[in-house]
Structures are given as structure tokens and as C-alpha cells.
């Protein structure tokens, strides 16, 4: 504790000194702050962001020094932490959870020289940019794998909250599955929690008992993959490679990577060229990737997956290309057209193939 305080004081003194002698400032590594909503752990949302932080620090070795605060609740605490980071002179601050949005916006107005970056939100400011990843691109490929690997043609999805980001994933997954297997259907169970291993497990077991033989999840624990392993069905992980939690069950995982983006942004901030933007990266930007495929996936399918990933990278494959038909048979996007980002961000329905009904808001 004492050493940490000492470090803080030293850092503060150095920052002041650097401020007095402009020449010395260039030599001093810039401090970059990260705020995480949960403990880093060994897999999951925060873990992936922390990997990104480490990658960025390595890429910009000597030029930056990063620090982070984990397990910050999405409330008044967040504001305090962000303010502290700005106050100690961080050049850029990354807040990696939706609920930090309003607090960050508020603090950003008081520190116009600091670059503020918020993940998954929608509010921007003069010195606050936002960034997110096109998770649905990976979900689409995962759906193709699930559609091919399923024998019962029933797929299962354990989901946290019915917000657009989660619905994009669900719809991309069933669209991918039905592109190769028109018989495929998808059941969705909402657990109303990002994180409750017991409930996630119950939901997965429920789906499996209702006949699903490939299950996936949009929640934060590894419980779904473990449940699938126990019941001898397939699972597709999320966030991180979860193969060690279900060596037989784990087909692959939709993973997200932030290192390149963090490096790019911090370089811009250091060069003084950074401008707040809304950044939504996917395969092309290296933000989305599949974890190594399980060898049970036939070679031919593996090759197709590789091709699809290449097409996503090249931008020629669009998961929400028409025809996009909702569960009730309404055509939203005609063949030959592609759903706009604007419409994607407002998604609040299921596509055809989903057998569950979306709970009303």
C-alpha cells in the first residue's frame, strides 16, 4: 500500500516537473489509464481488454506507461476513478464498460487536454471518442460451424440482456447457421445477468435437454462450455478461447482483440493528431477472430471457415446482407442490399429461425 502511495506521489511530482521543463516531457513515458468493470481473471471481457493494454504497452515500449483499476462498479465510483486518472495526468483514459458512459462524459468536459475513450457506448464529446467491435461478424462464422455440426438442427443461445449488441450476435448466429442448414432453429434463454455461473449453467442445461446439440452464450463465465462438455454436446465460447474448460465440446470461440486499436489511438494521442471518432472495427481491423478450431470440425468446413474469415477481412462478406427476414416473416432488407450500421445499432427483433419469442421491453 505504502509503495503504491509513494509511486503515486512520485508520479505526481514527475508530472509536475515535466510540466515545468517542457524539454524533459518528451523523454518521460506518457501515462495511459484503463478502467475495468470486473476482475481481469483468466478469460472474458475484461481479460481481453487487458491483453490489449499489454500489447499496446509492448508495441509502444518506452513511450508509454499504462496502469489500470479493475472491478470498478458502474456508478459514482467510476466517476471518481476517471477523475483521479485525469488528475494524475494520464494522456488517454480507456473506460471499457457501457455503464461508464455518462460519468466519463461528465469528467471529460473538465479535462479538455486529456483523450477519453469509451467502449460500447454511444455518447461522444469534444475530447471523448467511442469504440466497439463487430462481434456479429464472428458470430456469423460461428453460426455456419454450428449449422454444419448440429445433428438435431437445434441450436441454443444463453444471452444476458436484450440489447442491440446481443441481438446482433443472436441474429448473425442463426443467419450463418441457416445459410448452410435451412432446417436449423435457435432457442434463446435470457438470464438477465452478465455474470452468474449457476444460472448460465442451468440455462445451458435447459437448452440441451430441449434438444440443442450446439450451444453458445453471450455472458461472461465459462459455465456454458463446461455444461456442454458434461452433457457431450458442442459449445462455442465467447470473449476468450475457452477450450480448456471443455476440450471436446469447444468447437471454437468468438474472440475480440483490442491491442492494435489501442496502439493506433495512443500513437495518435502522443503525436497530437487524435480526434474523437466513433470506431466500429471488425475482422478487417483485427478486432474479431475465431479461437483455434476443434479438430473434430471436418477439414472441408475448416477451409470454408478460413475462406469466410478472409472474405470478412476483405469486406466482401457481410453477415447482414439481404435478404434479412424477421421471425414474423417481414423482409427488412431486400436481396442485394445490406443493412446499415444505423439499423444494426437499433436491432430489437429476432430473425427467422429463432423459435423463442423476444420478451417485451
Amino acid at each position: 500500500m505504502k509503495t503504491r502511495i509513494q509511486r503515486f506521489i512520485t508520479a505526481g511530482l514527475l508530472a509536475t516537473l515535466a510540466g515545468f521543463s517542457g524539454a524533459a516531457a518528451a523523454a518521460e513515458p506518457a501515462s495511459i489509464g484503463f478502467i475495468y468493470v470486473s476482475p481481469i481473471g483468466d478469460a472474458g471481457w475484461t481479460y481481453q481488454h487487458d491483453q490489449g493494454r499489454q500489447e499496446m504497452e509492448k508495441n509502444l515500449a518506452g513511450k508509454v506507461k499504462t496502469h489500470y483499476v479493475e472491478n470498478v462498479a458502474e456508478g459514482a465510483d467510476a466517476e471518481r476513478v476517471i477523475r483521479e486518472m485525469a488528475e494524475r495526468g494520464d494522456k488517454a483514459i480507456f473506460a471499457t464498460s457501457f455503464g461508464y458512459m455518462n460519468y466519463m462524459l461528465k469528467v471529460s468536459k473538465k479535462y479538455p487536454k486529456t483523450a477519453f475513450l469509451h467502449a460500447t457506448g454511444y455518447k461522444m464529446g469534444k475530447n471523448m471518442g467511442i469504440y466497439n467491435a463487430r462481434f456479429y461478424q464472428g458470430r456469423y462464422v460461428a453460426g455456419v460451424i454450428a449449422g454444419e455440426m448440429s445433428k438435431s438442427n437445434k441450436l441454443g443461445y444463453v444471452a444476458a440482456f436484450p440489447i442491440p449488441e446481443v441481438l446482433q450476435g443472436i441474429n448473425a448466429f442463426i443467419k450463418g447457421a441457416r445459410s448452410v442448414n435451412p432446417e436449423a432453429t435457435l432457442s434463446v434463454i435470457w438470464v438477465n445477468s452478465w455474470y452468474d455461473p449457476g444460472k448460465e449453467r442451468e440455462a445451458a442445461l435447459t437448452l440441451i435437454s430441449q434438444g440443442a446439440d450446439v450451444v453458445t452464450h453471450h455472458t461472461d463465465s465459462t459455465a456454458v462450455v463446461q455444461a456442454a462438455e458434461e452433457k457431450g454436446v458442442y459449445a462455442i465460447g465467447y470473449h476468450s478461447d475457452m477450450s480448456k474448460y471443455g476440450p471436446n465440446a469447444h468447437l471454437t470461440a468468438v474472440t475480440h482483440h483490442w491491442g492494435d486499436y489501442y496502439t493506433k489511438v495512443v500513437e495518435q494521442v502522443l503525436a497530437g493528431t487524435w480526434k474523437p471518432e466513433s470506431f466500429w472495427g471488425g475482422y478487417k481491423e483485427g478486432m474479431i477472430r475465431l479461437a483455434p478450431l476443434n479438430p473434430v470440425i471436418p477439414e472441408a468446413l475448416q477451409k470454408r471457415v478460413a475462406q469466410m474469415e478472409a472474405d470478412l477481412k476483405a469486406g466482401t462478406l457481410k453477415p447482414f446482407a439481404g435478404p434479412v427476414v424477421t421471425q414474423d416473416g417481414k423482409t427488412l432488407v431486400k436481396a442485394g442490399e445490406v443493412m446499415s450500421d444505423h439499423d444494426l445499432e437499433k436491432m430489437n427483433y429476432y430473425l427467422e429461425g429463432v423459435t423463442s419469442k423476444l420478451p417485451k421491453k
Binding site: R201, S209, Q210, Q226, E229, K360
Partner: protein, 310 residues
């Protein structure tokens, strides 16, 4: 609805209810002695990580379960010392114990977040498990599920059929009278509290070793609080605790099944998620609406510190 689905709903209900039953029955005994320990969540958390860590290192499930219970007892001892010996406020001490336990477990558990345990195979009871529909659900379960039923009968017998139980209840009703006729009130309360700690630790062990064989921070996810609430809403009667726990588990599991089955339910999923809480509270309040009986069952000295005179 075919038999298979009923079986799997029943099965999942029993599993979801088990940790609640074990922890709530422990808490019931504690409260019957007049001590209110709100620290169940913390004791469960510490029990969960202790059981997980020891099972992982030793490879022996039962050593792990023992460690979980011991960890629960250690936490309860801390509570007992502050609340019973130093006469601290029981509500405040219990709350502190909850917060401390959750944080302590997260701290100890840091290196274990990436580890996994082998799933424990269930124990199948011959013949009974062959009964159609309910057999597979009730008699092909984890050992701790069977234990929770034994615990239920043991608590019932202890409280209402044994002399020691009578003394315990007397201490909860009127510690000064019990003290006057020569019963060691503080020692009895200590023992009850430690028993409650052991059961909370065991409930935690069930979560981290049997239910979802992994450790992650916050995995108890409020189950300790539900157990504490169950005791009160069940008006301190073991059968109602059992009923409430299964009702809670049952409603939770059924709403998942309904969602998965594709029925048009037309309700916010947030409401569905809160349904188990609603259902449990409403049912238990309904069956416990006789005020005189509630007053009869509630330990009179609950939560009040006792200092033996002379």
C-alpha cells in the same frame, strides 16, 4: 409436456434448491438460538474458494468439502467473537462479515480463476432411480443433495425432539431464564453459530465443487442472502425452508424452460428473472399469515446481545 421435460425440470429444481436448503437450515439453527448472523453470503464465498482450492491441490473431493466447512466455521468464529463475546451489534457484524467474506474470497481466489475441476458424477440409487419421471430427478443426484435431505430430518429432530434442541430454543426465547437455571447461554450460541458457519461453508463448497466446478469472483451471486431471507419468510420452520428453497429453484428453472420452449410469454425477461423472488415471498407470506403462529415460532431474543450477569 412429456415426461423427460418434467424430469429435467425437477432435476434442475432440486439442484438449484440444494445450496439454499443447506445454508438456510444452518442459519435456522443459529437464529433459533437467538443469534442473527447475516454473514451467510460471506461464509459461503470463503467456503467456496477454500473447498475449490483444497480439492484442486489434493485431488480429494471430501478434503475439499471439509476445508469449505472449516473455512465457514472460521468465519463464523470471527462473527461469534465480535457479536457474542464483545457484544457487538449482530446486524452490523453480520453485514461486515458478508462484505469481508466476499472480498477475502476474491483475494484468496485470484490464482485459481483459470483452474477447472473434474465434474463430480452423480450417485445413482438403485431401484429408486428407476421410478418413472421422478426417479431420475430425485435419486440420481449429487451426494450433497442426499445430504441436504438428511440434514433436514436431523435439524427437525434436533430442534423439536431432542433435549439439546429444547435447550437451544430456550436460549433463543429467553437467554436470561436459560442462564438462571444454569445453561451456558454464550457457549450454546457459539456452537449454534459455528454450526451455521459450517453449513454455509458447505453450501459454498456445493457451488464451487459440485454445481459449477470452477471458481470465479462473485460466483455465490446473492444465494447467501436468499438463504437468510428464506429463514425469515419461512417463519423459522424447517419444512417451509425446504419448500421455499425448492419453490425458488423451481420457478427459476421453469422460467428458463418456458423461455427456451418458444412460448409467447409477452413479458419482460427482467420480470421473469424476478419471478422466483416474487413467488417465494408471496407463497411463504401466504402460508405464514397466522400472526400468532409467527410470533410463536420467531425466537424472541433474536439479534439481542446477551451478557450473563455475575
Amino acid at each position: 409436456m412429456d415426461g423427460n421435460i418434467i424430469t429435467s425440470i425437477l432435476f434442475a429444481t432440486v439442484v438449484a434448491g440444494t445450496p439454499l436448503i443447506i445454508v438456510a437450515l444452518g442459519e435456522l439453527v443459529v437464529e433459533k438460538s437467538g443469534v442473527l448472523n447475516l454473514g451467510a453470503e460471506g461464509m459461503m464465498s470463503v467456503g467456496a474458494i477454500a473447498a475449490f482450492a483444497v480439492t484442486l491441490h489434493s485431488g480429494n473431493l471430501w478434503l475439499g468439502v471439509g476445508a469449505g466447512m472449516l473455512a465457514g466455521v472460521a468465519m463464523a468464529l470471527l462473527f461469534a467473537f465480535v457479536a457474542l463475546t464483545l457484544l457487538g451489534n449482530q446486524v452490523a457484524t453480520g453485514l461486515a462479515l458478508s462484505i469481508l467474506g466476499v472480498g477475502l474470497a476474491a483475494f484468496i481466489g485470484k490464482p485459481y480463476e483459470s483452474e477447472v475441476l473434474q465434474a463430480v458424477p452423480p450417485i445413482r440409487i438403485p431401484f429408486l432411480a428407476d421410478i418413472p419421471v421422478i426417479g431420475e430427478a430425485l435419486w440420481n443426484q449429487q451426494s450433497l443433495v442426499y445430504f441436504s435431505w438428511i440434514l433436514f430430518w436431523a435439524v427437525l429432530w434436533f430442534l423439536f425432539r431432542s433435549r439439546a434442541g429444547l435447550v437451544l430454543r430456550a436460549v433463543g426465547e429467553s437467554p436470561s431464564s436459560a442462564h438462571a437455571i444454569g445453561y451456558p447461554v454464550i457457549r450454546i450460541r457459539y456452537l449454534a453459530t459455528l454450526f451455521g458457519g459450517a453449513m454455509a461453508g458447505l453450501g459454498g463448497a456445493f457451488l464451487s465443487v459440485f454445481y459449477t466446478p470452477l471458481w470465479v469472483e462473485g460466483m455465490v451471486a446473492g444465494r447467501g442472502w436468499i438463504a437468510v431471507a428464506l429463514v425469515v419468510f419461512a417463519t423459522w420452520r424447517p419444512l417451509r425452508v425446504l419448500l421455499g428453497a425448492y419453490l425458488f429453484g423451481g420457478v427459476m428453472v421453469s422460467q428458463l424452460f418456458i423461455q427456451g420452449s418458444g412460448l409467447d410469454i409477452n413479458m419482460p425477461s427482467q420480470f421473469l428473472s424476478s419471478l422466483p423472488y416474487w413467488a417465494t415471498i408471496i407463497v411463504l407470506v401466504m402460508i405464514s399469515r397466522n400472526r400468532n403462529l409467527v410470533r410463536l415460532n420467531a425466537p424472541v431474543s433474536l439479534g439481542q446481545p446477551f451478557k450473563p450477569e455475575s
